[in-house]
Symmetry: C2
Subunit: 142 residues, 2 copies
Amino acid sequence: MMEPDNLIDAVLQRYAAAVHAKDVEAFAALYAADVRVFDLWGEWACEGIAAWRAMAESWFGSLGDERVVVTFDSVRTMVAGDMALVHGFVTYQGVARDGTPLRAMHNRMTQGLRRRDGAWKVVHEHTSSPVDLATGKALLSH
Amino acid sequence: MMEPDNLIDAVLQRYAAAVHAKDVEAFAALYAADVRVFDLWGEWACEGIAAWRAMAESWFGSLGDERVVVTFDSVRTMVAGDMALVHGFVTYQGVARDGTPLRAMHNRMTQGLRRRDGAWKVVHEHTSSPVDLATGKALLSH
């Protein structure tokens, strides 16, 4: 059984590295073929790695020469056998080519993982921001 | 090990029953003392059963003589040892005292569960709706 801290390293750090590198293959490799994602934006669910890979291609392609620095905080992990649950807060910080910080967005993130043949893969991911009751708008900064 | 179908019965059906009955005690009994909820509304996180129970009291108390019928669909469950992950879509259908359907709201829901002393408890819950990119508003109906 992988220890929780190592699991966080293996998945969250690789997530951050793949996003920073805008590396679609490295990003897609974190997820199981039958992944179901409840993403913050637009769609109720994204089913399967092909659709999720297409999201990453579109996201990374939209960034031009900007990059996104992903950081996590208040992460909690629970592991039992070949299954794990991770939840915490994530910050997506846009950075210009010259290093200037641009807009930042905060999310909550939950991931469910499964280990097959020794490799941990995300089988379910849920990202969101809380919604303001008065305006119906998502609060993207805390 | 509880079978996935029974787990869904045990947790989701009791969730629906507690909400329909507006029974704060039955609702709170579904959750672990150290539960962390990423709820759709207002707050980034709700930490611990006392805060989550207060949410339920406020919610149920706001309903007057209306009730809420909760239904789930496309639910997937994964169980390993004393841990489980459940994710799917949930509909909250308001019903007037005379049975007339009122407003309805759709959410995505993810739950992480842990079994201690034979009892399954929700240790993490994440509910949300996707956000429309153009307006920044949550889509509460699909």
